[in-house]
Amino acid sequence: MSTPAVNRPYTLVAELTYKCPLRCVYCSNPLDYGRHDATLSTEEWLRVLRDAEALGVVQLNLTGGEPLLRPDLEPLVAEAERLQLYTNLITSGIPLTRERLARLRDLGLDNVQISIQDVTAAGAERIAGRKSFERKLQVARWVKELSLPLTLNVVLHRENLDHCGEIVALAEKLSADRLELANTQYLGWALLNRESLLPTREQLARAREIAAAARARLTGKMEILFVTPDYYGDRPKACMDGWGRRFIVVSPDGLVLPCHLAHTLPGLEWESVKERALAEIWERGDALNHFRGEEWMQEPCRSCDRRTIDFGGCRCQAYHLTGDAAATDPACALSPRHALIEAAREQTAPAAAAARKSVALKYRHAPQPRNSVRPRHRSSARDR
């Protein structure tokens, strides 16, 4: 196989830890996140930031899990500032103090993104799996009091999609600069809970209208992003703007990935920044190169006009729904396995929903810790 062209990455998604005080039912961390507990040291993260900037990265998302659980967030933000990275802290807000937030601002933090699960404490905490709502609002107010830009991120699903108007009102009340209304991506924990979370087409249409009206009304004041769920689109999304193109994700244990869940795909040997330089992994790593370019594509992608637009959709969705990571994303209406998506949509119809027994939400949880501390993930040359 020829080596595909390697693009310049623009964004580093630094997943500083998978630990989190919340237990959200749609968490995008892998189901087996507890296995990736060999965290990088401060020095290793600092090197990742420097190496990423040298590759062309200008945006840094500090995320997790809950990035505030790293006591060394401060030196990382300071280094990002020195490197002139646009630094966005993506947080639950829960472990934050006003003093620490002020410190991070003074060190050069550019934006704070807080997740809000719903517009009432009961609704929000049912999804987050713990008391958190009032605390989040407090933290959001601190962000603005400290003159930091505020993004509110609300993951949308069946239980909160009808509250879009109230969500916009809450964002206005908090003077958010940006509101992300992001429909759940049904992978990881969200796929486990899909039956409970997938909305109806009608819910989605109403919410989209509300978002569009709010966007028009608030132009120049608040940026509003509405991310539609691919389960209701005819064509898949260009997941991560294409595999290994613009985004580098580094997992808490240092694996260099094209997305949050690529290490759940079978047969790919992910490499860690502990063993090889970031630039080398990015440019020459076998796993990253595996789904770059078009040679891996099957029909109908291979001859499709949209293959350079959507890149065949999401590899993780292809694998977790069809068992084949190289398949056309089944969200595409042209996929031979599109019936998998249609069947999930049919389950949301009122008749099906009524006939179905109420399904309990499955909260994010780590497997019980084992006595063994040996990292179990096959990730590196060490294992070969």
Binding site: R8, Y10, T11, G56, V58, Q59, Q84, Y86, N88, D110, N111, Q113, S147, L148, P149, T151, D177, R178, T219, G220, K221, M222, E223
Partner: protein
């Protein structure tokens, strides 16, 4: 539409940096970035809250002298309006 007397400045969520790879300025904001051509970079660098739109037009007119002033005026106002629409600049009264 931005007023000629308005004094635009970059919104707090925006930062400007020079990009060594492309030798261009980049405007960075949450999750996005915009590569600026020479004129756009000149305009953005004058968005400090000190200069009115009129002054920015005059300065750019002087810098790009042979170009007709109306073309400069058009370019500056349409670019500033585009930035304002995305809330990337704010205007001091």
């Amino acid at each position: 539409m931005i007023e000629p007397t308005a004094r635009p400045k970059l919104a707090p969520k925006v930062r400007l940096r020079f990009d060594a790879q492309t030798q261009r300025y980049l405007l960075l904001y949450p999750e996005k970035g915009m590569q600026l051509n020479g004129t756009a970079a000149d305009i953005v660098q004058l968005c400090t809250g000190e200069h009115s739109v009129e002054e920015i037009i005059t300065r750019l007119g002087a810098k790009y002298a042979p170009q007709p002033p109306e073309a400069i005026r058009q370019e500056v106002t349409s670019f500033l309006n585009a930035l304002a629409e995305r809330a990337l600049i704010q205007s001091e009264p």
